[in-house]
Amino acid sequence: MSYSDKVLDHYENPRNVGSFDKGDQNIGTGMVGAPACGDVMKLQIKVNTNGVIEDARFKTYGCGSAIASSSLLTEWVKGKTLDQASEIKNTDIAEELALPPVKIHCSVLAEDAIKAAINDLKTKADGALQKNSA
C-alpha cells in the first residue's frame, strides 16, 4: 500500500494524541468502529462557553489512514463551532490525505467520530438542562 506523504506524516507524527476526562461537561467523546472490523476511533473535543471547540484529542486503533484521518480531524475541528465541525465531510478528509479507494472507509469513520462527539456533547447539555429545570 503506497500512501501519500500527508498520511505518512500524520502516521509518523500524529497530532493531539491523548484523552480528556470523558465525564467533564465540556468534553464530547465519540467512539466509533469495532475491533473486529480493524478500526476503532476515539475522538474527544473540548468546547468553551461560546460553543467553540478549543481543543481536541484522539486515539485510534486502525491502519495508517485511519490514524491519519483522525489526526487530521483533530487539527481541523479546533477553532470551529459545533455547527461548523458537523459540516466536515469524509470526502474532504479523503481528498486532503489523498486516500486510496480501499481506504475511504477510514475517512467515513472520522466523519462518524466527530458527529458522535458532537452528539455526546448535546446529550450532556440536554441532560444538564433537564436537571436544572427539574
Binding site: 500500500m1 502516521y11 500524529p14 494524541v17 484523552s19 467512539m31 466509533v32 468502529g33 469495532a34 475491533p35 473486529a36 472490523c37 480493524g38 478500526d39 476503532v40 476511533m41 476515539k42 486515539k59 485510534t60 486503533y61 486502525g62 491502519c63 495508517g64 485511519a66 490514524i67 480501499v102 472507509h105 467515513v108 469513520l109 462518524d112
Partner: protein, 407 residues
C-alpha cells in the same frame, strides 16, 4: 546496530533469494555456450546433455525426500502440483467415490481446488484443527466415509509453521485404501520427509521456498503401490503423460541444486535458524498481551507468528517498514477477511488482524534479529499509546463486553 542493511528480509516463507550456487548452475543452461538444448530432443547431443542435467536434478529432488527419481514429475510450482494431484486423483478415482477430506488451514491452492471439485459434484470435508493448528489424526479418521477417495493435508503450514503428523495420517489413509496427497511446499530443507516410511501417495514440492528459482516445482507420484492422476495439461506427453510441456532445463537444474544443498545443509541451517528464532522469541516475550500462534514444538525452526493485542496489523506493518514481514491483517491483503488460518485456530478477529509472521532463513543474521526486536518493542509502545483499546484494557474495561457499533 547501525551496520545492519535495511530493510531486513524476514519473509522466507513467502519466498527466498536464489542461492548463488543455484544461480550459477542455472546460468549454465541458457546461452549458446551453455546447455540450452530441448531435453526431449532425442537426435543430437544438445538434447542428450540437457536430458542428463534434468535427470541429475530429478535425482537430487528424489534424494531429499528418499524416493525414486521416476516418481518425480516436474511442474511450474506447488500450486500446479496441488491442482494436478487433487483434480487428477479425484477425476481418476471418482468411480470409487466422490468424497474428499482436507483441512481449514490448507493453502488456497488446495482449498480453491477443492472448491472447484465441489462445483463439479464432489463432497469435501474441511477438518478444523486444534487451537495449536494441528489436526488430530483420530479426528481425521472419524471423517472417513465409505466414498472417501482422497485426503489432502499439508505438511508444514505456511502461516504458522506447524508440522502435521503426516506419518500417522498416512497410516490411516493406507489402511482405508484412500489416496493421500500432501502439500509440502514449505517442507524442503526445514522438515524431513522420508517417503520410504511415510505413506504419502502424492506430494507437492516447490523450489523457490528453498533458495531455488520461482516458476518450478514437482509432484511426487508414488509407483508402489501405483497411484494414478489424470493429466490436467495435455500436449507432447512429457513426464510420462502426466504433465506435457517442454521442460525448463534451467529451472529444473536450479531446483535440483537447491534440493541438493538443502539435503547437505539442512541440519546445520536448522540449528542456526532455530537459535535465531528463539532469540527473537526471547526478545519479544516480555511485551504484555502478545500471543504466539500455532504449536511451538511441532513447528519448523524459522517460523514465529505473533499476535499483538490492541494493535492493528497494518499500522504495525507500517511501523515495521524496515523489516519485511507478513501480516494476517485484512488491510494488507486483497480480501477484507483476516487470516483464515488464524480464525480456524479459534483466534478472534482482533488477534487475527494484529498478527505478524516472521520467517527466518539461511541468510538471516544475529544483528538483524536484535535490530528487529528493538524495532518491534518501540513500535508496540508507540501504537499502544495511540490505541483506544489498549487504554480501555489498562482501565480494566472488558472489551468483549462492549457493544461495538458495526460499520
Amino acid at each position: 546496530m547501525t551496520d545492519v542493511k535495511l530493510p531486513i528480509y524476514l519473509d522466507y516463507s513467502a519466498t527466498t533469494p536464489v542461492d548463488a550456487r543455484v544461480a550459477r548452475v542455472m546460468a549454465e543452461c541458457l546461452t549458446r555456450d551453455g546447455n540450452y538444448g530441448n531435453p526431449a530432443s532425442r537426435s543430437h547431443s544438445f538434447g542428450w546433455d540437457a536430458e542428463r542435467k534434468v535427470e541429475e536434478a530429478r535425482q537430487h529432488v528424489a534424494a531429499l525426500i528418499n524416493s525414486d527419481p521416476k516418481e518425480i514429475i516436474w511442474t511450474s510450482g506447488a500450486t500446479e502440483s496441488d491442482n494436478l494431484a487433487i483434480k487428477g486423483a479425484a477425476h481418476f478415482y471418482q468411480k470409487n467415490g466422490k468424497h474428499i477430506i482436507t483441512s481449514k488451514t490448507e493453502h488456497k491452492a488446495v482449498l480453491d481446488t477443492c472448491r472447484q471439485l465441489e462445483r463439479e459434484g464432489f463432497a469435501v470435508t474441511y477438518l478444523e484443527p486444534h487451537s495449536s493448528g494441528l489436526i488430530d489424526p483420530e479426528y481425521l479418521k472419524a471423517a472417513i466415509r465409505e466414498d472417501t477417495i482422497l485426503i489432502t493435508i499439508m505438511h508444514v503450514n505456511n502461516e504458522i509453521g506447524v508440522i502435521q503428523d503426516i506419518r500417522a495420517i498416512g497410516e490411516i489413509a493406507r489402511k482405508h485404501k484412500i489416496i493421500l496427497h500432501v502439500d509440502a511446499a514449505q517442507s524442503p530443507g526445514k522438515a524431513p520427509v522420508d517417503l520410504q516410511e511415510m505413506k504419502i501417495d502424492l506430494m507437492s514440492l516447490s523450489a523457490h521456498k528453498v533458495y531455488g528459482p520461482k516458476g518450478i516445482g514437482a509432484l511426487y507420484v508414488r509407483r508402489k503401490p501405483r497411484v494414478r492422476v489424470e493429466a490436467q495439461m495435455h500436449g507432447g506427453g512429457h513426464e510420462r503423460g502426466m504433465r506435457s510441456g517442454t521442460l525448463a532445463t534451467h529451472q529444473i537444474v536450479g531446483m535440483g541444486e537447491a534440493f541438493r544443498i538443502a539435503k547437505q545443509e539442512m541440519a546445520s541451517d536448522n540449528e542456526r535458524i532455530r537459535t535465531l528464532r528463539n532469540r527473537l522469541l526471547n526478545g519479544l516475550k516480555d511485551i504484555e498481551e502478545i500471543y504466539i500462534n500455532g504449536d511451538l514444538e511441532q513447528r519448523v525452526p524459522g517460523n514465529l507468528n505473533v499476535s499483538f493485542n490492541f494493535i492493528e496489523g497494518e499500522s504495525l506493518i507500517m511501523a515495521l517498514k524496515d523489516i519485511a514481514v507478513s501480516s494476517g491483517s485484512a488491510c494488507t491483503s486483497a480480501s477484507l477477511e483476516p487470516s483464515y488460518v488464524l480464525r480456524a485456530l479459534g483466534r478472534d478477529d482482533e488477534l487475527a488482524h494484529s498478527s505478524i509472521r516472521f520467517t527466518i532463513g539461511r541468510f538471516t543474521t544475529v544483528e538483524e534479529i536484535d535490530y528487529t526486536i528493538e524495532l518491534i518493542k518501540n513500535a508496540v509502545i508507540k501504537l499502544r499509546n495511540l490505541s483506544p483499546l489498549w487504554e480501555m484494557h489498562q482501565d480494566g474495561v472488558d472489551l468483549k463486553a462492549v457493544e461495538w457499533a458495526a460499520h
